[in-house]
């Protein structure tokens, strides 16, 4: 079994996914490209391209959850939900970038 297969399916697979998610979130808190980084990482760890879609969406969901929680902490949640198109854009970016990145990464990195 290759190293990547081990990380994808071994007993530390879930830990790897958590670490990838955390790295992605930290990167995403500095620049939108961090969402792509996170997507790539969780995509590479996916066991299949289909699974990469799920993990990309999940990473995006986690990023959006953290984003909303942060706004709630700042007391800015109500204005956020009134931003209309901006809200749609944020949600679209949150799910879209990581998912596309995850699928693309998984398609490129099949196994090593």
């Amino acid at each position: 079994m290759s190293v990547l297969s081990e990380v994808r399916t071994g007993r530390r697979a879930e830990l790897a996914l958590v670490v990838a998610t955390l790295v992605g979130l930290v990167a995403a808190s500095f620049h939108w490209a961090g969402l792509v980084v996170g997507g790539v990482l969780v995509g590479i760890l996916a066991t299949s391209v289909r699974r990469a879609v799920v993990q990309g969406l999940t990473f995006g969901g986690v990023a959006l959850f953290v984003h909303v929680a942060r706004l709630w902490w700042f007391g800015a949640l109500d204005p956020f939900f009134q931003t209309g198109l901006v809200l749609v854009l944020t949600v679209g970016i949150g799910f879209g970038l990581p998912t596309v990145a995850a699928v693309g990464a998984r398609a490129i990195v099949d196994d090593v």
Binding site: A28, L35, V49, R70, T90, V103, G104, A107
Partner: protein
Amino acid sequence: MNTTTRAAIAVVCTAALVAASVLGGSFLGLAAPLSGDLYESAAPEGATQVDSPYGSASVWYDDDGVPHIDAENEEALYFAVGYVQARDRLFQMDLQRRLVGGRLSAVVGESTLESDRFYRSLDFQSAAEASWQSVRGTDVGTPIEAFTAGVNHYAGTGGLPPEYALLDAEFEAWTPTDTLLVGKLISWQLSGSFADLRRATAVSRLGGNATELYPATLDHDVPIVRDPAESDAAPFSPADVVENTSAANANVGGDFGALAEWTDTYDKDPTYGSNNWVVSGEHTASGKPLLANDPHLALTVPPIWYEMHLSTDQMDVRGVGFPGIPMVVIGRTADAAWGVTNVGGDFTDLYTYEMRDGGYVYEGDVREFDTEMETIEVADGENVEIAVRKSVHGPVIERGGRTVGVAWPGFSATNESLGVYRLNHADSVDDIREALRIWDVPAQNFVAADRAGNTLYYPAGQYPIRVTDGEVVRGDTIFDGSAGEGEWRGYEPYGQSSWDGFVPFESIPHVEDPDVLATANQRTIDDPAFYMGTSMTYADPYRGQRIYDLLDDAVADGDVTVETIQQVQRDVRSEAATGFTPYATSSDAVAQMSPDARELTTELDGWDGQMRADSRAALVYRIWVDEFRTATFADEFEPQGMDDSYYPRLFVLQQLDADSQWYDNRSTLERTETRADIAAEAMNRTAERLDEEGWETYGEFNTLDMNHPFDRKFMNYPERPMDGSRFTVFNFRSAGSTQAGSSWRMVVDFSDEDDSVGVVPGGQRGVFWSDHYHDQLDEWADGEYKALTLDRPSGSPDIVFGGGR
């Protein structure tokens, strides 16, 4: 999945990411979760320790977001003021200086190019620079510099407001001149006027009869100073200023329509106005004076005013100022208070020229215009070059083949910042009077009171005396500048004026220790010793009449309390409505109305002019009077290409004879209409309009709808129906895109600290994420208040400024 499919997926995904990055990079940077620039400003401004080169200061924000700043010295104080104003209102400050500096297009684009052309043409920037040179060596110079440093410290270390992310723009460093530019903007909006262009054009197009629509004086008996004998003005004759006097009135007639149309957008807004009054301790329950003020300006998002409480060992002042200006403009100290309304006088003159050899003739000589080529930067567009020209009178503007020079005291170096600084240190009415001695623009009706029981009314400002051939003339005309008509002695545009030819401070009509005195932008006094203004510059008398009626009744009923004063501020009875309603309900008019219109008039039976949101009668009246005005004048004005900005004051319409020629509809040659005919026609239109619009009550028409300059729903304030009108004391009017009204309501009572109150229409912070974005809006709309005491919140400060010199 085979290799080809995976490769295809990889290519598509990579292409999608590259495309998103290239085509939508700005959107990604703006709105991406966690890192989007728009969300930077959502975090509460975290800096609780700020380095200050000026010394220590502490800031406590109260429950309404009002900063209470206490500092060891004034420089440290104003550094902190700059910091907190930038924290709460940076984009608004930037927008204002760009507007008046003619630099909006650099961030907004071509849509603001005409605005930039206008403001550049009048060169407010040079006027502000002249003011800075004038005041930088005075007591206010160092505070302005410290304020500037505070603004820039915040801009360099704190989060920029979300508007910068939306515009993809950067903040450029604040300068002392910017503070004075904001002052120029406010002054221009309150006292710059091109009314003479409109009147000359109307008379040119409609004939000499039109002069009756723009009388020298509105025929009412409620000037601010009701009894001229009350005035304590020193004897004054313009002969003291010039060699001799006469009533001679030079007049350059003609059609200035193109100029009038262009300048109308930037002219003094006729819907602006304000109320203030003072009641001396002679008539109050406490024996201490009561003072009230509510300036009526555009209702903006965020509000035009920013409330502050500033204290050092030498001063303790609370009230509101304009973001960008470090001092309190309206407010109170521990022992004195003052409020302002605009003097509806005439402070702008226009001059035509005989052009010759590329220059202009002035008193027999040909002079070149002082010309500078300037570039207006346009975001996402081509930059535009304009020639900024000046004559001896000031800036020169041209449209439609007509050229005029513009004289306005504010083009000179002015002292309003120093005047406000001194007001902030006032301990008594005497101090306030001394502060006003140097007040130049905009001329303001000051009412003042102090803890010792003194009161004062002073319409401070520089009042020009116009001189033609050594004779004093009125200013409600366009002068022949080449012939030297209408000169202002002692006035130096963009330089230091001596003001020698202006009215001496002591000779301005004023009242020492008035018992009851109210101002609402109406005529200052009957038969002043010098020309002050006309019906086109002074407000209609409706608010002034109502305030005096209410205060007189209150005084007659017994001792006045702070509750009495608040009730007056909440009053929504329109004297305009009570004056016009009989026209709408006259039997002659009703007899000619459609059945639907006739039914509407029954709503007005017994109605007392209360402009309440839930009133059907108020709605009927409001729409009818609009239609009545249009039906009266549109048949004359519209065919001549003049819109309603040329119409006369509403009071002039009310005073027209029932068979005035203006009621006659020019399109009906077979008959001659009278007031009753027009009233009936207007009510018929009112019925049609109500049917079309579906409005049931006044509040559905008179709706609070305050929008952010970007007009994005999430940045706009909540909408709600409103009481009040342009002519009620409780002032609010919605007409088209116009939202104007009481921009700050204040009552000061020296007998009980807790009784002094104030409220702004919105909130303290201009960042839409903030809890203080519009947390005072409902209080304001409901006529409620919050405390205006000199107590600061207990507990640890929110921001501490430290360091040393």
